[in-house]
Each structure stands twice: as C-alpha cells, then as structure tokens.
C-alpha cells in the first residue's frame, strides 16, 4: 500500500494541535514556534500533493479507502480532484500567515489584557481547524464530510468567543459579551444548517444505500440509481441550505459580520478565507454531483440570491462604520460571485468560481491582516477613528491599498481573473444576471476606496500621529501574500490547469455544455 | 355457583349487578366528591364490598373474601387511621386553585370513560368459557396450584416487596432522635430562663359541653385565649371558637333572668313581652 499522503496532510496539523496544546503555559513562545513548524510541514505536504497530482489523470487521485462504521456503510474514503488540491493548497498556504499574524494576539503579556488567554490553545485550535478543513476537502464519503463539516464549528466557536478582538470602545466585559454573542450566533446558524444537512444525509443513505460519493455519483450517472424528482429536490435543498449558511448566501449571512467583527483579524481570515470555502467547495462537489437535476432546477433562484448577495453585500459594505464588518460585507458580495459562477454551469463560470475561492482567500487575508495590524495599533475598529495614516505609516498604507485594490478586482491582481471569468461564464448563459452583477465592480470600488480614503488619507489625526509602520514580522506576513496576488493575476495558468479538468467533470455531471458563440452557432 | 359462570348469566345475577352496580358507582362518585376524607373513605369501603360481591359472582371466591378481609378490613382501616391522624374534621375546600384543572380533569375522565367503553364495545367478547372447569378442584386450590407453580417467582417477589414496603413505612414515619430527651428539670429551667410563661398554661374548656380540649378557655372579657388549646390543634387550626356562643348564651341568660325578676326594658316590645308574661303568670 502506498503512503497515505492525504491522511498525512490532515494528520500533521492535528498532531500539531495536540502537541501545541500540551505545551505548558510558561513556554508559550515554544508553542508558537511549534505551531508555525507544523503549519509549514503541512504546507510542504500540500505541495507534495500538488506535485503528485496529475491534472489530466483520474478524476479522484491519491485515494484511500478503509472501512469505518461497517453497519451503515460509512467508510473513511479520501480522494482529491483539481479543485480539492487547489483548496488544500490555499488552506495550507494561509495558515502559516494566520499563525504569524496572530503571533501576539493570544499572548496575555503582549495584549495587556487581564483576561486569561491560553496562548497554546489559540494556536492548537487554529491547527485543529486546519486539519478538519483539509480533511473535508479530501473526504469523498458524504458522512465523513458531514462530520467534519460540523466538527470544525467547535474550534471555530472557541476561537471567536475566546480570543476576540480587544479593540473596543467599551470595557473588557462588554467586549466579552459581544464576542460570545457573535460566537453563539455563528454556532447556532451553522448548526441549524448542519442539522438540516444531517437529515438530508440520512435521506441520501435511505435512497442510495451507502455514503460513498463516487459510488452514488457513478450510479446516478449510469442511471442505476433513480431518484424521484421531489426526493432529489428535497435532498438537494437540505445540502444546499447548509452550504449556503456556511458560504454565506443572502439572506443567511448575518452571522458573518458579527463573527468577523468580533474575532481577531487572523481568526476572521480563518473564517472567511478558509472555513467558508468549505461551503462553496461542497456546493461544487456534492450538490452538483449528487443532485444534477435538482441543481438545474434550483439554478434560477440561487442565481437571484447570489445576485442579491453581490449587490446587497456591496451596498452594506458602503454603509459600514467598522473596518472589519466592512470587509465581512465585502466578502458576502464576493461569495455571491462565487456561487453565481458555480451555478452558471459553464466552464468559465466554474473555473472562475474555483479560482475566485483561492484569490478571495488570498486577497481577503491580505486586506484583513493589514486591517488587523492597523486596528491593533490604534485600538479601534471604527473607520472614523483613523485618518492620514498614509503619512505616518506609508508601507502599511501601501499594503492596505494593494489589498483594497485586490478586493475591488483590479486587473493585474489575482481576483480580477476570477471575477472576470465568473462574469463571462454567467453572461454567456444569463446575460441579464451578468450585467447586474457587473454593477458589483463599481460598488466594490466605492467601498474599498471610501475605506482607504477615510483611514489612510487626509490630515493626520492626533491619535495616529505616532503609529509605527509595519514591523518585520508583519511584513513577512503581508509581502508574500501581495506577491502571490500579483503572480496569480499575471500568470494564473498553474491554477487554471489544475482546475479545468475537474470543472469539466462537474459539468458533465450536470450534463451541461457551454453555450456556443453566436457566430459559430449560426454556422 | 359454577353454573352461574356460564356465558350467559342468570337473571338473579343480572338483578344483583344492576342494583349493586348502581350503588357501586354512586359510592365511587361519593368518594370523589365528599368534602370530608372520612366520608370518602367510608364510601370507598362500601364500593369495595360491592366489588367483593361481584368477585364472588364471577367465581373468584378467594379474591372476594380477600377483598373483604384485606382490602376493606385492613387497608381501608389504615386509611381511616391516617385520616384520624391528620384530622378527621378538617373538610377540604373543593374550590379549584389551578386554572382550568377541573375542566381538563373532567375531560380526561370523560375521555377515558368513552375510550374504554368504546374499546370494550369494539372488542369481540362473545366467547365465555366460564370457570366451571378451572374451579372444579375448588377455587382456592386452583389459585394455590398456579401461585406455587407458574407464578412462584412473582409471588416470592411480591413477598419481598411487602416486607420492603413495611420497612419503608417504618423508616419514613420513624423520627430519629439526634439528642437526649430533656428532663423535666431542664425544661423547667429553660422556661424560667426564657421568662415567657412561668405558671402552667391555662386549662381549656371552661364549658365542658364538648370534648373540651379543642375549645379555648375564655378570658374575663369573653374573648378566647389560644394559649389554653393544645399546640397541635392550634397549628392545625382546629380550635373551636365558642366565645360568641358563650356571649350569646350570657345575653340570653341575662334576658331570661330579667324576665324572671320582672324588670322591664325600655323598648316597647320588651314591655309587650313582659305583659304577655304577666298574663301567663296570671293564667297560672
């Protein structure tokens, strides 16, 4: 038997979490380095996966399969396609930056907070989330995926509720109250989604007789497994609801601004750049593959909801007064694009959506982490408390600007490629939807530039006059992300080549072909 | 008797059923609706005896006797004991305190009755084998044969249950003394130390018309003194207030003695009375 690479990639951060958690509190610096080490080891393994994966080969590669709960046909089945590889890469890539950015966030001495915060716990929880997210990208057993989908809520809950943002106008107690509100809201929303999904998972088992994605999909494709129209639709809705909560899609989005606002910036990145991607990934992998007919049936409604997300999220971002909440609403808008791309059911749309997941992860990480550095300097999340930062901290302002420009999808930076692909992919099939979604790019410019203008330009405010510029550690976090944004903006080919075959498979699952250009169609 | 247990009953049994059945239902209703627990207990005892008769009529001779001896004789008496212990005279108020409880209860009872009657009505109960064969060796012997063979384990376990229940009842009612009982001397000293009531408490029942312990002694102004009544009765609220009665009696006595002595009141009616009295006297 070959080396279980996929298991190892998930196991390394899991072991790392345990080891980190076991470090005594007095040696918390060691815990930080340990966590960083394990996250880097995971990154190495993820790169190995990327190298070993052959884009043109089998659909699922590096597969592993072991019996687990034999009575119910639950198996420990892993396998990755191009989309999975790309997202594992994203996760493994972002976590070291998250850890580095949160280096001092949970340190009682550094933060000056009197509340007891277990430093090692913070990093152990981050690694735990990483392990679960990676495994969920690998799982090809529906039940295994469901368990991971739910289980990752637990460490996230503690990360949001336990290590929230210190920057508040009010007292520590008030902050703690808001934090726990946000954490509970996050948990309840996602649990509600997960429970509905559980019902659908059980329903799927009743219909299909096992949990294996590949088997069910093959049976569906060959016509062996017939589903009644209504059954399929109900099951689809059960799955989709959970994913739409996690993604999040309007109107199930209200947990995100709270969670991202109250969490520390690295945790906010973890939420939006890593954990939420599981939702969109699962739509692509499970909804389309298991329920192709129902997916097509629901497409109009989902597209409308995605469209609302895009415009609504952008408009609300314009109206925010809190930097982190603004980024959260911007993310809602971007998730609208991703979902739109998935359900446009064209190669461009779905490749674009997958690319969008990666690019959004990187760009939001860049913007949010810089915003976090900014907030930790001034101790306030309110946009109105800033002004003229550009004058005192030009590097910080510059990186913030690049992050903002990536958020507004400036050509030359990675998000442009994906956003344009999504728009083109949608436009070829649904022109009106594509046109309305294009308004999103104007609004994106509005909210990012307003944010930049209010915080960075103008006369220097007294409170920010002595703000230090980015430190070396912070620069180490931001610079690679920016470099990556530029690289993927100019040369996205490595990722698209990874993703294209997988998207082709997905499209053949739903039996959709790209619309032909008018000129060719006329011939 | 065994012939009576055939599938159709004799008209004698029918008559017995209709008469006694009616009485049993009335007894049951009375059990529920009587204000005083004693009355409820007595009504229940009546119903149980009737049931004993029905057992006999159904060929369950042993049970019929047991019903009378054990149930009506022992258990119901136990009830009466407790009722006495708790207070025989205290009448319950039947006023409902929980909102909607009475209606819900009535609904439940009615619903049960309808359901059960409906269920029995629907069941196919046409076959009656009668107990002639089963009771051929005598009812008690038949039962004994079953109890000591087929149901021997259940029987033993019920025995254990009974013993446990007896022990449990003792444990529940037993009060553990945690300290030495005070001697009379100590009690006297304590009373002096507290300085509350040095002399013995006043005696109750100035008028020994009733079993006077529950009647408060009257103070010189005619009001009752609670001190004279046993503490238990006081706590239970079972003091019988006779002060007003006494005062009325006093008034009546005074009036009568006035009449006797020929003193006339200032009111016209009293003069009339006096006049009529005079006439009576004259007639004598």
């Amino acid at each position: 038997m070959s080396f279980p690479l996929l298991t190892a990639t998930a196991a390394v951060p899991a072991i790392g979490a345990i080891v980190t958690a076991a470090v005594p509190a007095a040696r918390r610096t060691a815990a930080k380095w340990l966590a960083l080490f394990f996250s880097l080891a995971t990154l190495v393994l993820a790169i190995v996966i990327g190298v070993r994966f052959a884009p043109g080969g089998e659909r699922y590669q590096l597969t592993e399969s072991h019996a687990w709960i034999a009575d119910f046909g639950v198996r420990y089945e892993l396998g990755v396609d191009g989309i999975g590889v790309a997202l594992i890469g994203l996760t493994a890539l972002l976590i070291p930056f998250v850890i580095l950015a949160g280096w001092h966030d949970a340190d009682p001495e550094e933060t000056g907070s009197k509340r007891w915060r277990p430093t090692q716990g913070f990093f152990a929880l981050i690694l735990m989330v990483e392990a679960m997210v990676i495994l969920s990208f690998e799982a090809t057993d529906v039940f295994l995926f469901y368990i991971l989908f739910e289980a990752m809520l637990i460490p996230m809950y503690f990360l949001i509720g336990g290590f929230g943002d210190r920057a508040h106008a009010g007292s520590d107690e008030k902050a703690a109250t808001q934090r726990s509100y946000a954490a509970v809201k996050f948990l309840l929303y996602n649990l509600a989604g997960g429970l509905i999904m559980l019902a659908a998972v059980i329903g799927l088992y009743v219909v299909a007789g096992n949990f294996s994605l590949q088997e069910i999909a093959a049976a569906r494709a060959s016509g062996e497994l017939e589903m009644a129209t209504n059954t399929e639709r109900l099951l689809f809705l059960g799955f989709f609801f959970a994913f739409a909560v996690k993604a999040p899609l309007w109107p199930l989005h209200t947990w995100l601004p709270n969670a991202m606002g109250e969490a520390t910036a690295p945790v906010a990145v973890l939420i939006t750049a890593v954990v939420d991607k599981v939702g969109t990934f699962a739509m692509l992998r499970f909804c389309l593959q298991l329920f192709p007919e129902a997916s097509k049936w629901a497409t109009p409604v989902i597209l409308v909801l995605a469209l609302i997300s895009i415009v609504y999220g952008a408009l609300l971002a314009v109206g925010q007064r809190d930097i982190k909440r603004l980024v959260a609403y911007a993310s809602i808008s971007h998730f609208g694009f991703i979902i739109m791309g998935i359900f446009a059911m064209t190669s461009q749309g779905q490749s674009g959506a997958t690319l969008y997941m990666i690019n959004h992860g990187i760009s939001t990480a860049a913007l949010m982490l810089v915003a976090g550095f900014l907030i930790s300097r001034r101790g306030s999340r309110l946009i109105a408390d800033y002004g003229g930062v550009q004058k005192v901290a030009p590097v910080l302002a510059g990186t913030f600007l690049v992050g903002s420009l990536a958020t507004l999808s400036l050509p030359g930076l990675a998000p442009f490629v994906s956003e344009f692909l999504v728009l083109v992919g949608t436009f070829t099939r649904y022109p009106v939807v594509g046109i309305i979604a294009t308004f999103g790019i104007v609004l994106a410019a509005l909210y990012t530039l307003v944010l930049y203008q209010r915080t960075m330009t103008g006369p220097v405010k007294v409170e920010v006059a002595r703000m230090p510029d980015l430190r070396v550690r912070e620069l180490v976090v931001v610079a690679p992300l920016i470099a990556l944004l530029i690289f993927l903006g100019v040369y996205p080919k490595p990722v698209t080549e990874l993703v294209n075959p997988a998207v082709g498979h997905t499209l053949s699952d739903v039996q959709k072909k790209d619309p032909k250009p008018e000129v060719e169609a006329a011939k | 008797m065994s012939t009576l247990a055939a599938y159709a009953t004799s008209s004698g049994e029918a008559l017995q059923f209709w008469v006694l059945g009616t009485v049993a239902v009335i007894g049951a209703l009375a059990t529920v609706f009587m204000k005083k627990a004693v009355h409820s207990a007595l009504c229940l005892a009546g119903t149980m005896i009737i049931l004993a008769v029905f057992y006999l009529a159904n060929g369950a001779y042993f049970l019929g006797i047991v019903q009378v001896v054990v149930y009506t004789g022992a258990i119901m008496m136990l009830f009466l004991f407790v009722v006495m212990l708790v207070g025989v005279t205290a009448a319950d108020s039947l006023k409902e305190t929980i909102k909607g409880q009475r209606w819900l209860a009535a609904l439940c009872g009615l619903g049960f009755a309808v359901l059960l009657v409906g269920g029995i009505g629907n069941a196919s109960l046409k076959e009656f084998n009668g107990l002639a064969q089963a009771n051929s060796a005598g009812n008690t012997e038949g039962l004994a044969a079953l109890i000591f063979t087929k149901y021997v384990f259940a029987f033993e376990i019920t025995g254990a249950l009974l013993i446990t229940a007896a022990v449990g009842a003792m444990v529940l009612t037993h009060r553990e003394r945690t300290e030495r009982a005070k001697t009379q001397r100590e009690l006297a000293e304590e009373r002096v130390r507290e300085g509350k009531h040095l002399p013995p408490l006043p005696a109750p029942g100035v008028y020994a018309r009733h079993n006077a312990v529950d009647i408060a002694g009257l103070l010189p102004d005619g009001t009752p003194s609670e001190l004279t009544v046993n503490k238990t009765l006081r706590d239970r609220g079972q003091i019988r207030d006779v002060s007003s009665e006494a005062l009325n009696d006093l008034k009546a006595l005074e009036q009568r003695s006035d009449e006797r002595l020929g003193r006339s009141g200032d009111a016209a009616s009293s003069t009339d009375d006096a006049a009529s009295g005079d006439k009576k006297e004259a007639a004598k």
Binding site: Q348, F439, G504, D514 | C108
Partner: protein, 632 residues
C-alpha cells in the same frame, strides 16, 4: 524586431516596481531611474518606428505573443501585443510626451519629499498606457485601461494629506469604473457573440452578426470611452482631477490617458462602421461634450480647470471625428497627437506659472506675467495659438479637418448641425483661450501677499522645466503641418483605420474661411471683455450661465443629489434593513423560541395534579390514536 515590443511596457514597469518597492535608499536617485526608463521606452519606440517605416504599408503591423494568460475551456486570453501604425502613433506620443514630462517633473517636484514615489507612479502610468495601446485583445486592453485608472487615482491623490485631492482621486476612479463596466460588458458580449475578444477575429467577423448586436457593443464601448475620456455624461471627474500635481494634469489628463477613449473607438472602427446608430451616439456625445467643455472653460478662474474644460472640449472634437467613421478616424488621431503637444505644453506652462506664483491657481490673481517669465509666455503663447487653430499651426490643420469632416457627416441636416457645432466650438475655444492668455500674461499685476504675508515673486522656472516646454512648443507649431504635408499622416494610418475623403455639405475653402472668421471673432470678444478693462480680483457674480458653468453646468450637483444622496440613503436604509429585518428575522426566531419556552415554563407550575392531567391526557390521546389506527 517584434520581440522588442514587450520591452516598451517592461521598462517603465520595472521602473515602477523598483521605485515603489525600493524604499528610502532610492530617494536620491529615484527620479533619474524613472526618467531613464521612460526615455528607454521612448528609444525602443523610436527604434520600432524606424523599423516600421522601412517596411511597406501593408506589412508594418508587428505581433508578439508572450504567454497564455487565462486558459480555460473555451476561453483564451493571451498576453500578446500588436503594434500597428495606430499603436505606434500612440506609443511615440506616450513615451515622447511622457519622457518630457518626466524631465519636467524633476524640477517641478524637486522639493517634494515623496518624489521617488511620484516617479514610480508616473512609470506605472506609462506602463499601463503602453499596455493599453499595444494589447492585441480587448481583455489585455482592459488591463491597461484599469491600470491607467489606477495610476491616475494614485497621481491625482498624490497629495493625500489634502482631503480635496483624496476625494478627487476617488471620484475619478469611481466615474472611470462606471465606464469600465461598459467595457467589461462589451467584452462579455463580444465573447458570447464571437467566442473571442482578440482584435483580429472580432473586427474581421463583424459581418457575421446582427447590426443590433454591434450597436449594443458599440454603445458599451462608447460608455467606456466616455468614462476614460471625460465625455458627457461621465465628464465630472476631470475638473476635480486637477488636484493632482501639474505634470500629472499635463501627461494624464490632457495628453494621453484621456485620449484612450478615442483610441478605443478608432480601434473598434470595424464595429462602429457596421453600426450607424452607435456612430450617431458617438457623434452626439462628442458634439455635446465639445460645447459643454468649452462653456465650462469660459467660466473657470482656476487656470488648470479652465484648461481641463478645454481638454474636455478638444477630446469632444476627437470623439466627434471618430464617430464620423472612416472620414474622421485619421483626423481624430491627428488632432489627438497635435493636442497632445499643445495641451501638454499649455499645462506645463500653467505649472510653470504656478511654480513661480507659490502654487496660486486663480487667474484673477495673475496678470502681466509676460515680463517675469518670458520663456513660459512664449511657449504658452504658441500653444495658445495652436489650440485655437491659428492658421499654419498644428491645431489649425487637425481641427479644420475635423470641422470639414463634421460637415460631411451626412448630406442633409446632420452635416449642418454637427458641422455648425464644431464651428461654434472653435469660436468658443478662441474666446476662452484668449481669456486665459489675457488674464495670465497681460494687464496689470494683481497678486497680493497671502495671509502669512508672503508675496509671490514670479520668476522663470529652471531648465529642466523650460526645455520640455520648448520642445512641446515646437511640436505645437510644426506637427500639424508636418502631418498634413502630402497627407502623410492619413496615409500612414490608412491600413489600420481606412480612409475616405469627406464630402462636406459646403465647399472646403468656405469652411476654412469661416473657421478663421469665427476664431477671430471669439478672440476679439475676449479681448473686448478682458483686455480692454482691468480684470476684477474677485469674480463678479456673472450671468446665470456663467454661474452654472462655474459649477460645471450643475452636473456635480445633479450627481450629488441623485447618486451621492440617494446612495447614502439607500445604504443607510439597507444597513437598517439588514439589522432589523434580515437579522431581525433570525433574532426574532430566537426570541420567539425564548417567548414560547417562557409560556411553556408557566405550564410547569409545579403542581403534581397538573402533571397528572397531562399524563392522563397524553395517555388518553395515545389510546385514542391506537384505536383510530386500528379502526383505519
């Protein structure tokens, strides 16, 4: 040779990367690096130009393919360049004027502590603009298109500590984004129609689709052009953009970036030729803008804003010409190039004046400056004569041709209308430029000490600033004549844009004569109004039109009321909706459950009898259900 094309973009891009990432240690040498790389790019351009001249007209276009940019099933976007005559013209203009302005900025920005960054932005702009004009497909053009938008944003807001500059930068970017939206939808439409968006296949297969589709694409491209080229209705950002340093105004907002719209329309000529309705829209936009800009230019007292109005108006001419089809493309580009010379020269002159006047921009506080800064006066004056179309100078040759072509738009009423508008515009141009000239260089000196008591001491600018002005002045004088010699420019562009001789509704000499008459009239009127009597230092209230023109003909106010206010209300109410309704539904559900459990808790009154009732009731219901099931 074609391998050199990438160098055009690479050189300034390298400069931008080095200067922006290089940090403080490049502060002292940064401007030289930037200028050197701009000049290098110009040199490459000249080399390629020389090579191109050596070939015959049909084989001049070069093509270079670098790598596949976005390879997705059914979707090919390549990083590939195409250098034909049209692109070449732009390359030379951009790198040439760009290099001059780099040189100028060395002196102009000498005292600015962030000069290195300024040059980095300038290089970034050059790279983006060059990418725009040498891209071989619309998507790559779009990259350059947004890239110049970014550079423009950075440069307008260069003095970020001024809130007005930051706001102006944001406004420019946003308005441009609206236009960009048009371009991106146009690209999508091309993709769905043709399956590609490379220039070659798209422009060759215009005959295979319907006119309606082409009209739609054309209108969307026009929207894009309106945004970038500050045409009505997206013109409002240009005036505010003057908050940026003057070299920026000269390079970006006069000579190059704002002409990108003209490039786009000319480049997409095949689409417009097949869609007359879209062409008409282009012509109308151009005509409206040329009057709009001219009127605004008449009323502004801020020298840069007056020039900005003029820019708008001149680009209106170009758009108008581009909308005329093959009879106009070449003249549009020709006017674009000559305009690039004289408008850059005028802006640099204005910058030179401001440089000597403590950054004062109000022309009412100038006056009689010709004595203090003679070089500036002469170069500015030549630019002035060129822009009003004084016979013999550059502007005359190009503008006159546009007016001719406008008269030739149609045999009927349209030719008269648009020709008339173009002619009228020439008159107004003469009026407002004469006004600028008189208020700045003639009359009495009107400057006063400012609040801190510093009286300006007007002086000539350093060599690094005057030399570019002189070079540009040469261009303003001779370029037009050179281009018109033997119709060389038209022939140069003909392989790309086609050319037809215009046939105006009235004879050509009559048009030329009337043009000259009109411009003399305009200049004379200005002289009467401003030259004969002293100019008041504070602006008179003015007529209704003047006041409206000072406020950009109320466009900003309209935008403010409709978009800004409306948008604010919309976002605010949406925030409220999100909080109370969307979130409210969720929280309401939670509260509902809370309330329900409160009610349920009251049922738990602790009385055993209550519980007994529920037990009995439950049992009864269960029995009933069982019986019912039996019965059924």
């Amino acid at each position: 040779m074609e391998n050199l094309i990438a160098l055009l973009v690479a050189a300034p891009l390298l400069g931008a990367a080095v200067l922006l990432c290089g940090g403080r240690r490049l502060d002292r040498s940064g401007h030289w690096i930037g200028t050197l790389l701009a000049v290098a790019s110009f040199a490459v351009g000249v080399l390629l130009f020389a090579d191109m001249l050596g070939k015959d007209a049909e084989h001049r276009a070069l093509h270079q393919s670098l790598f596949s940019w976005i390879p997705v099933e059914g979707f090919q976007a390549d990083v590939a360049f195409q250098l034909d005559q049209l692109s070449m013209t732009f390359v030379l203009l951009i790198t040439g004027v760009g290099s001059l302005i780099h040189v100028y900025s060395i002196g102009y920005m000498e005292h600015d502590e962030r000069r290195r960054r300024f040059f980095g932005y300038l290089n970034l702009f050059l790279a983006a603009m060059l990418l725009l004009v040498i891209a071989d497909n619309y998507l790559l053009l779009y990259v350059g298109w947004e890239g110049v938008g970014l550079a423009s944003y950075l440069l307008i807001g260069f003095w970020q500590h001024k809130p007005s500059a930051a706001t102006a930068a944001k406004k420019a970017f946003l308005v441009n984004r609206v236009g960009d939206m048009g371009l991106s939808i146009a690209i999508m439409l091309m993709f769905t129609t043709f399956g590609t968006f490379a220039f070659g296949p798209v422009l060759e297969s215009t005959g295979e689709t319907s006119e309606g589709m082409l009209t739609a694409i054309g209108l969307l491209l026009l929207l894009a052009a309106c945004g970038k080229s500050a045409q009505v209705p997206l013109q409002s950002w240009l005036g505010d953009a003057m908050e940026g340093p003057t070299p920026v105004s000269a390079l970006i907002h006069a000579a190059t970036m704002v002409t990108a719209g003209v490039y786009l329309i000319t480049r997409s000529g095949a689409i417009f030729n097949a869609a007359p309705d879209a062409q008409l829209a282009v012509v109308i936009v151009g005509a409206v803008t040329l009057l709009f800009g001219a009127i605004v230019g008449c009323a502004k007292d801020d020298i840069k804003k007056a020039l900005a109005g003029s820019t708008m108006s001149q680009i209106g001419y170009m758009i108008l010409a581009a909308g005329l089809g093959p009879i106009g493309y070449a003249f549009a580009i020709m006017h674009l190039v000559t305009h690039g010379f004289f408008k850059a020269g005028l802006f640099l002159g204005a910058g030179s004046v401001m440089h000597g006047m403590n950054d004062e921009v109000d022309m009412r506080k100038y006056g009689g400056l010709r004595k203090y800064m003679p070089v500036t006066f002469v170069t500015f004056g030549l630019g002035y004569l060129a822009i009003i179309g004084f016979p013999g100078l550059s502007g005359f040759w190009s503008k006159d041709k546009i007016i001719e072509a406008a008269f030739a738009y149609d045999d009927g009423i349209r030719g008269w209308i648009f020709g008339g508008v173009a002619l009228l515009g020439a008159g107004i141009t003469a009026f407002y430029m004469t006004r600028v000239m008189i208020m700045t260089f003639f009359g009495e000196k009107r400057w006063q000490p400012d609040e801190s008591g510093n009286e300006p001491h007007p002086h000539e600018s350093p060599k690094s600033m005057t030399i570019p002005m002189i070079v540009l002045a040469f261009g303003s004088v001779f370029a037009g004549g050179l281009f018109s010699l033997n119709e060389s420019f038209v022939k140069w562009l003909e392989p790309v844009t086609q050319f037809e001789h215009p046939h105006p509704v009235i004879s050509v000499p009559a048009i030329t004569a009337s043009t000259v008459v009109v411009l003399l009239l305009g200049a004379a009127l200005a002289y009467v109004m401003y030259g004969r009597k002293p100019v008041p230092v504070t602006a008179p209230r003015g007529s209704l039109l003047t006041r409206a023109a000072r406020r950009d003909l109320l466009q900003d106010d309209l935008n403010h009321v409709v978009l800004v206010r409306g948008g604010e209300h919309l976002t605010r109410s949406l925030v409220y909706v999100d909080h109370t309704m969307v979130d409210g539904v969720v929280n309401g559900t939670a509260a509902g459950f809370g309330g329900l459990s409160g009610r349920m808790r009251k049922m738990q009154n602790g009385f055993a009898r209550s519980y007994a009732v529920s037990m009995f009731g439950g049992t009864a219901i269960l029995i009933a259900a069982t019986l019912l099931m039996r019965a059924v």
